[in-house]
Every structure is written in C-alpha cells, then in structure tokens.
C-alpha cells in the first residue's frame, strides 16, 4: 500500500493543476479525463477490438518465433559441432533490430496480422534461442549419460530428460521473449500496421484526443504487467517441485 502513496499524490497534483490553471491542451489531459476516456474506449468497443488485435499478434509471434527458437536451441544445445557451425551466422543476424525488418515484412506480407506476427517472431526467436541454448548445453552431462545408458531414444531423451532439466531456465527465456513480443507488436502498429493498440494510440494523437491517447498507454502498460504476472504465476505453479526437492531430511 505504501507504494501507491507517491503515484496517487502525483495524480492528485496533476488533477489540481489541470483544474485550477484550466489548461486546454492538445498534448496533455487531466487524470479525470483520462479515466473517463479509459471507460469510453471500453464502452464503445474500441478497447476489446484493439487489445485483441495486439495480443493476438504478440502471442502468435511468441508462439512461432519462440517455438522455432526452442527447436534450434535444443539442436544447438545438444550438438557442439552444430553450435560451432552456426555461431557466426547467429551473431551476425541477432543484432538486427527486429523493427528494421518491417519494410521487408511489409513488402512480403502487406498490412495485417501476418506482417506483424512475422516481425514479432523475429524478435522472440533470439532470446529463446540464446538463453535456451545456454540452458540446454548447461544440463548436467551425467543426466544425458544416464538417459543414453537406460536406452531412451532421441525423442524420449529430449522430452523426458533434456526439457525438464532445462525447464526453469527455458521459462526465463520465454518470459523475456513475452515481454519483447508486446513491445515489438505495439511498435509495429505505431510505425505502420493499421490495427491494434499502437495504431489507436497514433490515431488519437493525430486527431488531437490526448485523453484517449493516454488511456491507450494505460492499457498497454496494464496488458504488459498482466502478461508478466500470469507467467510468474505459471512459473510458481510449475516449479513447485523444485522447492519441495530442496527440503533435506
């Protein structure tokens, strides 16, 4: 509760200033106006539509890019020769800012989901690949030997030993990618794509509706926060065993 004191105080000051000084601005809005706009966008259906578009694109890109990144991470993590072979291409492609691929993706896919998902997947691919590969090559080698001596086939070795052993760190990779996915989706919308929260934000700005603009900003933050909270919850649920196994007799 103490954490809320300062933000609430600042909001009150902003509200007070807006009212007493009677600002009529094209760029700023009083907190009460923003709150009203927050409600308006829900009431007129703008928010569900736009948020849905952004979330779909972000999750689609996360699934596609993260999935591909995970597959490659498993292969590289388990094979040192492959890791050496691909180190240079990876280090060359990785620093490309994902949003810089927008013109290419636009040319290939046009406006809409496919273009946005392609850019988001490009962005999500790298953290999952890099962190995932480190996670998998860092697995206790003894466990891999055990799985070979027991005679597990390759698929069973991956699903029953490799992935569970690397799961805590793989999850961190996906959390990182999830945060990136939302940022990149909104960026693509602000820059070009006529859909989603980013587009609505820009539309409000160019039609001089600052209250709506700030309302969109509030919702983007809220969605990002919820996504992270959700993943943390899943993490806690998934790795309950880790806490249990550390209890010494």
């Amino acid at each position: 509760m103490k954490g809320l004191v300062l933000p609430l105080a600042l909001l009150a000051v902003a509200e007070l200033c807006a009212r007493t000084l009677g600002i009529a601005s094209d760029t700023l809005a009083a907190p009460s106006q923003i709150l009203a706009a927050c409600w308006d966008v829900i009431a007129d259906g703008t928010l569900p539509l736009r948020a849905g578009q952004t979330i779909l694109a972000a999750l689609g890109g996360l699934a596609l890019g993260g999935g591909l990144g995970l597959v490659l991470a498993i292969m590289l993590g388990l094979s040192t020769p492959l890791r050496r072979l691909l180190r240079f291409p990876i280090e060359t492609l990785r620093p490309i800012p994902s949003i810089a691929t927008l013109p290419i993706m636009l040319m290939v896919y046009g406006f809409g989901y496919r273009m946005e998902i392609a850019i988001v997947s490009f962005a999500c691919f790298w953290p999952v690949l890099i962190i995932g590969q480190a996670a998998i090559s860092g697995i206790e080698p003894r466990l891999l030997e055990v799985s070979r001596v027991l005679g597990l086939d390759f698929f069973a070795r991956v699903t029953k030993v490799v992935l569970p052993a690397a799961l805590p760190r793989l999850f961190i990779a996906f959390r990182q990618a999830a945060a990136v996915s939302l940022i990149v989706a909104v960026t693509a919308e602000i820059a070009m794509n006529p859909q989603g929260l980013g587009y609505e934000l820009m539309a409000a700005q160019s039609s001089l509706r600052p209250a709506t603009m700030f309302a969109m900003l509030v919702y983007i933050g809220l969605i990002g926060w919820s996504l992270n909270a959700l993943l943390l919850l899943v993490q806690k649920h998934l790795f309950g065993f880790a806490a249990g196994s550390q209890v010494s007799p």
Binding site: L143, V146, S147, L150, V161, P164, S245, V247
Partner: protein, 266 residues
C-alpha cells in the same frame, strides 16, 4: 538376450559376458588405456582397483559404448559394442547427479521402464517391487533431494535393476557413503547380483571392498592405464562382513594387494 550371438560350434555359455581385446584409448594425444586384455565371465564378480587416473571409469564407459576404443575391440556377449545395450546397467558414483531431481523415487525407476517400453499398466507393480527390493518401499513419493545419500544410491540401484540387467557396471558406487551404509549395500549388491545371475564389473579404490566382493581383483597401473596384475579371490561364498574379513586368505590378499598398489604408486 538381444545381444547374444550364436556362433556355430560354440555354446552360448562359452562366450564371456564381456571381453576386451587389445583395447587402447587415446584422448587427444594423451593415452588413457593401453593394450587391455580382459574377460568377464557370465555371473562373475570382477573388481577393478588402481590409483586415480588409471582409466578405471574409462573401462566401464567403453562397455556401455559411451566412448569407443581407439584401437582394439570390446565385445559384449561375443558381439562388438556399438552403443548402450538395454541389459547393461551402469551405476554412477555421483548419485546426486545421476538421479532426475524433478521426478520422485517412483518416477526415477519408471524412467528405466519407459525406456524399455514396458506398458503403462504393468509399471506400478514392477516399480513397487523394485523399490521394495532395495528397501525404499516407503519412500516412493519422495524426491531424490529428500533422501539420504545411501537411499539415493539405493534408488539408483533400483533404477538399474529395472533394466533387468545381465551385466552390472558399478563405478565406485559406495565411495561417498559412510562405512556402515557401505557394508550394508555391499551385501545387498552381492545378493542382487547372485539373484539375477548378473556379471558385475565393480570399480573401487577400496582394496578391502574389492577383495570382499570379487571373484577376481584386477589391479591397474596408471599412465597409461594397463592391467598390472590379476588376483584370484578364493574366499567361500556367501561372504560375511566379519568372518570373511577375518579369514587368513582375506588378510593375505589384502597385504599382497596393498603392497602391490603401493609399489606401482612409487
């Protein structure tokens, strides 16, 4: 017995479980093992001793095919080893690393049955039986981290027994355990090996342990690892922790073996 091979004119019983034929292993430029010739008979209990760095562990890794010989050949049941065989079990010294920490005792044993594609419905009874065999019947739902060192090593043994092994390879399995637990587990391994009529290759640096358990004790010499001498252990079975260790033959062997090891180290 997928790996047994019928050679005309030779009965299967005549083929040794494991045979090393002029095996050398070189890692990079470093020779690890040199010209190893060694035979482990069916149902035989062979112990390997030697100072650290003489390639004891490498010997075991060759048999399960985790590494390949640079020169020579390792045969299992008469057939050259090309990879892990499902009826050769390997028990590691570092049980904390060899068990899956996210699976319970039950789940760890289950892994071996899953690898052998034992139908799901048959697993629970088999797992319960194996856990009871190693004295962990009451601990099926515990995670490895909740078990003591001795119990974790028992769990690893249970998992290996789930493979229904005809060969048990043990890499200093009791090195990290206290003396009491070690003696109890020694007797259990003797009992289990006898019951399953398994051949055992048991690596240890405890000379008394080697004499107590083995039909033969193979002493390795380091840099590079070679077979230095083979001691036949003519002690009656079943063995007993007190009387066997007081047997004049035991004391004689212990003296001879430790003199020999001391010699090779200086």
């Amino acid at each position: 017995m997928a790996n047994a091979v019928d050679i005309p004119g030779i009965a299967a019983a005549d083929i040794p479980a494991i045979a090393f034929e002029a095996v050398s292993v070189t890692l990079g430029a470093r020779p690890i093992l040199q010209d190893i010739n060694l035979v482990v008979g069916r149902g035989e209990f062979v112990c390997v001793v030697g100072s650290s760095g003489c390639g004891k562990t490498t010997l075991l890794r060759l048999i399960v095919g985790l590494i390949a010989p640079s020169v020579g050949q390792v045969r299992y049941g008469g057939r050259p080893v090309s990879g892990p065989a499902n009826d050769i079990a390997l028990i590691f010294q570092d049980y904390t690393k060899a068990l899956l920490p996210w699976r319970t005792a039950y789940g760890n044993v289950s892994l071996a049955l899953e690898a052998r594609k034992v139908p799901r419905t048959q697993r629970p009874a088999r797992i319960a039986e194996l856990l009871r065999t190693v004295g962990l019947g009451q601990h099926a739902d515990k995670f490895p981290g909740q078990l003591s060192g001795g119990m974790q090593q028992r769990l690893q043994i249970a998992r290996c027994l789930a493979q229904g092994p005809s060969v048990l390879l043990m890499d200093e399995p009791f090195g990290a355990l206290d003396a009491m637990t070690r003696q109890v587990l020694q007797d259990e391994v003797l009992r289990l090996a006898r019951a399953g009529n398994a051949s055992v290759l048991f690596v240890t640096h405890d000379l008394e342990e080697a004499i107590y358990l083995g039909d033969r004790v193979i002493a390795l010499r380091p840099n590079p690892g070679r077979v230095a001498r083979i001691f036949d252990v003519r002690l009656p079975r079943p063995r007993h922790q007190l009387t066997t260790r007081e047997d004049p033959e035991f004391l004689h062997l212990r003296r001879e073996l430790s003199d020999f090891i001391h010699e090779t180290e200086t």
